[in-house]
Symmetry: C3
Subunit: 455 residues, 3 copies
Amino acid sequence: MTSPFDIPVGNFSGHERQEVWKLKHDPELTEVGPGTPCGEYLRRFWMPVAMTDQVGDLPYRIRILGEDLVLFREKKEGKLGLTHLHCCHRNMSLEFGIVEDGGIRCSYHGWKYGLDGTILETPCEPPASQVKKKACLGAYPVIEYKGLAFTYMGPAAQRPPFPVMDTFDEEGDELVPYLITSPCNWLQVMENAWDPFHVVYLHTLAVRSQFIDAFAEMPMIEFHESAAGDFYTNVRRVGDFVWIRVHDHMLPSFTQNGGHFPVPDRSRYFGRGGLTRWITPVDDTHTMVIAWRHFRDPEFNDDPRGLTDKSQVGFGKTDFYGQGPDRTYEQRQRDPGDYDAWVSQGPINVHARENLSFTDRGVAKVRRMLRNAIRALQNGVAPAQPSDHYTGVIPTYAGDTVLRIGPQEGRDDGALLKEISHDVARIYRSGDHLAGAERRAFIVKALQDYEAGWA
Amino acid sequence: MTSPFDIPVGNFSGHERQEVWKLKHDPELTEVGPGTPCGEYLRRFWMPVAMTDQVGDLPYRIRILGEDLVLFREKKEGKLGLTHLHCCHRNMSLEFGIVEDGGIRCSYHGWKYGLDGTILETPCEPPASQVKKKACLGAYPVIEYKGLAFTYMGPAAQRPPFPVMDTFDEEGDELVPYLITSPCNWLQVMENAWDPFHVVYLHTLAVRSQFIDAFAEMPMIEFHESAAGDFYTNVRRVGDFVWIRVHDHMLPSFTQNGGHFPVPDRSRYFGRGGLTRWITPVDDTHTMVIAWRHFRDPEFNDDPRGLTDKSQVGFGKTDFYGQGPDRTYEQRQRDPGDYDAWVSQGPINVHARENLSFTDRGVAKVRRMLRNAIRALQNGVAPAQPSDHYTGVIPTYAGDTVLRIGPQEGRDDGALLKEISHDVARIYRSGDHLAGAERRAFIVKALQDYEAGWA
Amino acid sequence: MTSPFDIPVGNFSGHERQEVWKLKHDPELTEVGPGTPCGEYLRRFWMPVAMTDQVGDLPYRIRILGEDLVLFREKKEGKLGLTHLHCCHRNMSLEFGIVEDGGIRCSYHGWKYGLDGTILETPCEPPASQVKKKACLGAYPVIEYKGLAFTYMGPAAQRPPFPVMDTFDEEGDELVPYLITSPCNWLQVMENAWDPFHVVYLHTLAVRSQFIDAFAEMPMIEFHESAAGDFYTNVRRVGDFVWIRVHDHMLPSFTQNGGHFPVPDRSRYFGRGGLTRWITPVDDTHTMVIAWRHFRDPEFNDDPRGLTDKSQVGFGKTDFYGQGPDRTYEQRQRDPGDYDAWVSQGPINVHARENLSFTDRGVAKVRRMLRNAIRALQNGVAPAQPSDHYTGVIPTYAGDTVLRIGPQEGRDDGALLKEISHDVARIYRSGDHLAGAERRAFIVKALQDYEAGWA
C-alpha cells in the first residue's frame, strides 16, 4: 500500500554532488580586466565597442574590458574619440564633458583633450604651467564603419592593421548593425557559436523550429583551417541534395554564420552568410554581441521565405529569436533562445562543473586554442592576426552551398558527406588569391563543375 | 539661564560602545551553505521547500540552504522532482528546461534527467557515448503532502524516515499552506518562536492587541521534554480559570503554536493549535516560513470570535498580523509585527551585541541545543530524529487547555500554576501510546478528572 | 587616398595608462567608519546629522559615519535623542520603537531607553533583574537649532563646547535649512569648496552662467588664517571696483560662502554670505550636505536680482543649481553642476590618478591639513577646536566687500589686488574682539576709511 509519505525510489545524489557549489570559474579564459592574461590577449585585436548611432552631440559612456570609457564625436570633422572616463586632472567624469572641435573638454576646470588624449588646453592654469606636457589622458584610436565603432586597446607599438573582411562590402549586400548586452561572461556567448549541435536542439527540437525545420537533422561537422582562422562545415543530407553550411571563426571572437533562413531545396553555390559578429566583453560578467546583419539583393537572397526584417535590427534588438532579454520570464521559459542559454549558465560559467562530450568538440577546441594563445602571449609570442597572411581584403567562407548529389550506390552516405565537405572547403579556399566578383565567379564555377562530376 | 546650545546632560556612551559595529555574527549557528557545520546539520532533516501550488507546467526555480535548485512536476504521474539548477552538461539552467514524462530535459542539447538526476537521454550524442553513465545531476527526493513539497538534502545513506505528526491529519481539521520569505537569517525567525515573552509586548502591549487581550498577562513558562522534542507551557491565571497554552518545538525548526485566537473564558480540554510551521533557510540572509494553518470544524474551534480567514492564507500571505512585508514602512513603524522584529535584527543577527536576560531563556536554550547538536554531528553523532522514538504517527501537544481551578486558599498562586502546568504536561504525555480520536478521548477524560479533583 | 579603415594618427596611450584602473583611494583621508583614523578625527567635532523637520512622531533612521542610528523626539519636553539603531537587548531595530516621554521603547520586549541610552525599564524582566544596570545603549547628545540636529560622536571626556558662529543669529537674517545626499565620499564634496577655480569653469564658462557673469573672471586667491580656521579671499578687478569675496573654512568640513548672487557694481562693506554649510559623511561612499541658506532683509541683501527662492530650500533641495540629483541624465550632461562634478569622481575619488596643479592649491592645502590633523590625533594631540580661542560667539568672515579702488597709475594691478586682499583680511580680523552690530559697525567703518584712503 502506498502512503503519501513514501520516499521516492532512486539514486538521489544531490548531497554527494554539493561540491559543485564550491567549484570556481576558470580565470585564465574568462577574466578580461586590465593586466589579466585573457584581457591582455583580447586587447591585441581590433574590436567593435558601440553602435555609432548611439553617439549624438553628447559624450557616450561605455565600459569595455572592465575599463570605463567615454566615446564622443568631435565637432570639426565628426571623428570619434574614445578616452578613459575620468579627466586626468581631478577625475570628474567626461560623460559630463563638453564635446568640441577636435576633442572633449572637462566641465570642472576646462581641461581639453584631443582624440588621442593629449591635453590641448588648461584654461584655469597660469601660462607657465607645464602640466599639459606632463599629464595625458588614456585614449584609444577609433575606426568607424557602417554604423560600428571599432577600437584597439592594446599596446600602441603592437597595433595590428585593421582586418578588413571580404564580407564588409559585397555587391548587393546591405549591412545593418545591432548590439545586444548579456549579463554574463564573454566566453559563454562566444562558445555558443562554436557549438553547432545546440542548433538541433535549442533552436529546433526543444520547443519549435525557431529558424528552419531542416536544422532538426543532426549535422556532420568538419573543421577546416584557413590562413586567417577556422571555418567549419555542417553537412546534412536533404533528399537528393547535400547541404554544406559554413561558419567562420577567427579568434578571439569573430564569427560569421551561414544564411539566415535558408531552405536547402535547390542547388546553391557559395551563398553567403547572414551575420558578421563579434563578442565584446563589457567586464567579467557583462558582454555585448555587436554585429552586422546582411540584407542581400534578391539575386543573393538567403531568405526565400521572407522571414528577416531590417526594421527589427538595431540597438538592443535583432530580427531573429532569442538573442536578448526582450521577452517575459514565462516566454523565456516556454521558448528559450540563445540568450537564455548563455545567461543562465551563470555570471561566469564554471567549466569544472561541466561534462563535455562529443557534441562539445568545438567548445573544447576553442578553449584549447584560446588558452594556448593566451599563454603564448604571456611568453612573448604575439597573437596571430588575420592580416599576418593578407595585405588586402581577407577572404572568408561563411554561407551555404547546396549541391545536387544523391546517395551513391554502395557507399556509406556519412563517408560521402564527409568527403564532399572537405572537397567544398578545398574549393572555397582555392579562390583565396582572388577577390570580389572575380573570386565569387571562380568558386561558383568550381562548385558547379564539382557537382556535375557527381551526376 | 538655558541656551539652545546647552549640551544635554547624561551618560552618553555611544563612542565607548562603537565596538558593537565590529562584532560579527556567529557562523556556527547561522551559516547554512553546503559544507558548513550548521548547513550539514540542517540537511539531516526533511524540510518543506515550496508550496506545490507554485509548480505549474513550467520548472520552478528555488534556492534552499544556499543551493540553486529547480522543482518540477513530471508529466506522466505528476510526481515532483527537485534537482540542482544547472544541467550537468554545459550548465544551462533547467529553469528553462522542458518538463516531460518522468523527468526534465535541458533545452540546450536535450539531455534528459529522471527524478533522481540520472541521465536518461543525450540525444545529440552518438550511440556509443558513455557520458550518460559517467555524469549525473544532483537531485533530492520529494514528498508532497497537503500543498507542501518536502525534501531531504543530506547524505542518502543517512536519510531518516519522514516524520508524520499527529496534527497532519486530524478529524475536523483542514490544513491550508502558506509561505512567506524574510530577508534575514533563519535563526532569528526560529528564535522568535522560542520566545513566549515577545507575545506580551510586541503583540499586545506595544501598540494594540494584535491577537487577544489575554496575552497582556505575563505568562509563567515551563519547558517539558517529549520523546520527539520539546514543548513548553505558558500558564496564566484568568479569574477562576487556569489557561495552559502549549507550543511544540522540535529541532531544528519545527514548531506548533496554541490556538490562533483563543478566548480563555470557559473550560477547554486538549484544544489543538492553529499553526504547524517550519523555518527553511533560503541562504544565509533569506528565510522562508513554510506552514499550515489549521482550520477546524466548530466542534474543535479555536477561533470563537471568527478572526481567522482562510482566504488570506497562501503564497506570501497569511491571516494573522505582521508576518510579511505586506505593509507600508509607516504602518510597520506604527504597528510592528514579528516580521519587523526578526528582519530588523539585521541580515544576520549579531549575538555578541545582545544582552540576554530572564525572558530569553528559550532563546538561550535553543541556541545551546542547536550548538550541541551541530558539534555532535561534526563528531559523528547523528542528530536525534522524531522517528527515533516512534514507528508511526508522532504525538504532539500544541494547543490550549483551560481548566476551572480557582486560586487556592493559603497557597501561592504562582506555585499552583507551576504545579498545574507540570500536571497537564504529564497528562498530555500519558496518551503517547494512543493515536487519533482514542488519544484525544483519553487525554480529555484525564484532564476533566484532574480539573474535577480541584473542585 | 584615405580609406575608412585608416587608423587615426596620434599618440594614443590608453594601454600604457591602464595602471590607473589599479590605483586605490587614500583610506587615511576618506574612510570614516568607527575606529578609522579619519573617522576618529571627524568624531571629535560637533556636526549636523539631520533636518529636524524630518523627525515627526515616529523614530527616524539615519546613518552617520558608517553607524546606523535612530533619531527621535521624546514626548515630554520634545527633546531629540540619538541612539544606536539596534536595541541592546536582542537587536530589534528601534526604527520600530515607540517614542515616549523621556525616551524610546523597543517594541519587541519593551525595554525603554533614556536620551543617553540608559535603560529605564525592562517590563518583561522579573523585579530582581540586574540587566538594567549592566547593559546600556550607545547614544549621542543632540543640540537642536534652527531646524538642524547636531551631535557629537566622539569620546565623552573629550567633548568640546558647541561652536556657535556669529552667523547663526544675525540681525535681519533668516536661516533656512537644507540637506542633500550624494552617493560619493565626503572628501570630494568638501574639496569642491576649497577650489575657487571651478567656479570660473563649471559654473560660468562651461555651459552658461549658473550664478553670475562676473565669475567668468579668473580670481586671485589668497589664503588667510583666523584663530578658528582659515578663510580665503577671491579678489577680482571689476572696472573701477575691487571685489573681495571671502569664504570661511574650518576643519573638518565647515564652510561659509560669499553672497549668493552678488553683483559687484557698487561699494559694499562686509556683506555677509549666503550659505553656512557642513559636510557630514553617511558612510565611506555617501555624504550629506547639511546647510543653512541665509535670507537677509533688504538692508543686507546679497541678491539684488532676486534670484534666490526660500520655497525651494529644504529636504533634498535648495535654491541654486546643480546641488542634487534632481535633473535628468541628459540635463546633467548638458549643464553639469557641483553634484555631477563630485559624484562622477567615483564612489571614492582616487587621488593617485589625479594631476594636481596650480588651481588645486586649496585642495592640496586641505588634504595636507587634514592628514596632519588625523596623524596628530593618532599621536595623542587633540584636534584644534574653534572654541579653543573663543569663549563666546566665534567671529567668521564669509561674504563680499566691494571697494571703489581703480587701477593705480604705475602699479601692477595684480600686486595691487593682492595687497588690498590682505589689507581687507586684516581689517576683518581687527574686529574679532567685538560681536554683533558693534563688530559690524567697526569693520564697515574701517573698510570705508580704507577705501577713502585710495581715493
